[in-house]
Amino acid sequence: MRAQSSAAFRAVCAKRLVKRKNGSADIDKNKRTSGLPSVSIDELERIALTVRRHIIVMTGKAGSGHPGGSLSAVEIVTSLLFAVMRHDPTDPRWPARDRLVLSKGHAAPVLYAALAEAGYFPVEWLESLRKLGSPLQGHPDMHRTPGVEMSTGSLGQGLSMAVGMALAGMLDKSDYRVFAIIGDGESDEGQIWEAAMAAAHYRLGNLVAVLDYNGLQIDGPNKQVMSIEPVADKWRSFGWHVVEVDGHDFRQLLDAFAQAESKKGQPTMIVARTVKGKGVSFMENVVDFHGKAPTVEQVESALRELSSPITGNGAR
């Protein structure tokens, strides 16, 4: 029942990660974008598939957890860790690393799976998810899990922390970039809008937020529970540069991240339209799989579906 993954495969991925450490934390700013990784879309899709399989297996094994909102964020997290961000799995606290804050912390499984694949820790750890004493807590814990940048789980806080990190980058004249992933239900939290306002006020061009816009929260569709539309207008009116993409389409995601990088003095919000439960037919758009683990049978059937990459079939 364990998801396929080989050390060799992980090594390949890890090597492809952008590493431009030149001994010290000093980074040649002019070269920042020149070294973008040569990971092909095909490869990203293969990684995404593995990440999805991990999510299913680990939540199934844990008997609890949040598969729906993990699956919707697979392409977002995969593109960040395997194509966009500058980081080094062998040195998780490298000062000049780009930072990723998973503000919607309940999607920990997608982060753990991607971090394991990137080489931050052994894939075997994934089996311990949510067990007493595990390095992989139910929600991300920066002190227990290598590669987890910030402890989250209480919604709405991550973007503020990302703002703080971006301010520190400016203060230190470091060119690292900060990424935060938030949920649509999470967007109900006022703190998100406090952070949004502050990020624009402080002209944080080094900050990028991604909205995993899967349309569902726990009590139902956003539209019924608490509508956030027109969400792109909201972010624009809060002073952000907004890009809207299909959150399962790597090309669109990579484009959007590149656009964000070229935007100076203004934070960028990537509104990524996604499908909750993406990739597993019986989970897609099913509200209940927000916080319900798959049964043993469901794990098997999901893994059968997840045997070849989903290519370019986008969001809703």
Partner: protein, 322 residues
Amino acid sequence: MKQGMATREAYGHTLVALGRENPNIVVLDADLSKSTMTKLFAEEFPDRFFDAGVAEQNMVGMAAGLASCGKIVFASSFAVFLPGRCFDQLRMSVAYSQMNVKVAASHSGLTVGEDGASHQSIEDLALIRSLPGFRIIVPADEVASAWATRTAASVVGPMYLRLGRPKSLIVYENGHDFVLGKAVRLLDGDDATIIANGRMLAEALQAAAICRDKGIAVRVLDMHTVEPLDREAVKDAAMETGAVVVAEEHLLNGGTGSAVALVLAEEYPVPIEFVAIKQAFGQSGDPASLLKAYGLTADDIVAAVEKAIARKRQIVSVRRGS
């Protein structure tokens, strides 16, 4: 003891019954209605249910506004977010304003389990106990929870119900006659008193049984109401048994044990042992393993009882007067 419903489930069912009886009852939730069980009310009374989305602060403000217009408002979420995410709102809009708002907070304590520290409220009593005007009930089982919910609806003013996620063991017979602010003496004995509430009451009763087998006779008090605390029962326990153990699924700081310690410091100082979480956050794990890891089992209570009694014996007290 038989397993019954979780206290949150009894809350949800009682809310529905109350909704049928009283059209003035309004229920709010913050995107957790399936977990807090307010969903049952929402399904039967969609017009009187408002979801605030993931916005606990605004939920509390809405509750206050509705209450100011004569509604009896129940607002629910997880105990870690309500009061944790909206303390200042509970302070100004509810406590200071004396609004008829009932805060029913589910998923209290470590027994939330696998979600881990971010979701395990171990400090909510400390917060609510610092809000003048709030009454606090920590029901131990489905019977107590149903009573607590009905009491919340009938007593005017801010009230806090501390509810749990896992199934609870049944302590009370249906229709047990609780009184707000009066502890229930479930067992009697002279050697020591165990004061407990919520999830820990069942552990306390088990501990008392173990003690009996060891020849130790303990009084067990269900301190279901933490505010106002039953000062008489606490004082009597100290005077009559001379050693007290307080067991709760909460931090030592600010919880039921702190309330008991204050009373005895003022009224009748005796040795107290605390079976509570010492300054540390929770973590992921199944509820049983967590209770064990954090020292919150019947065995831990027994050890505390033995220690309290040993300390009592060390003090030969002659009390004049009272």
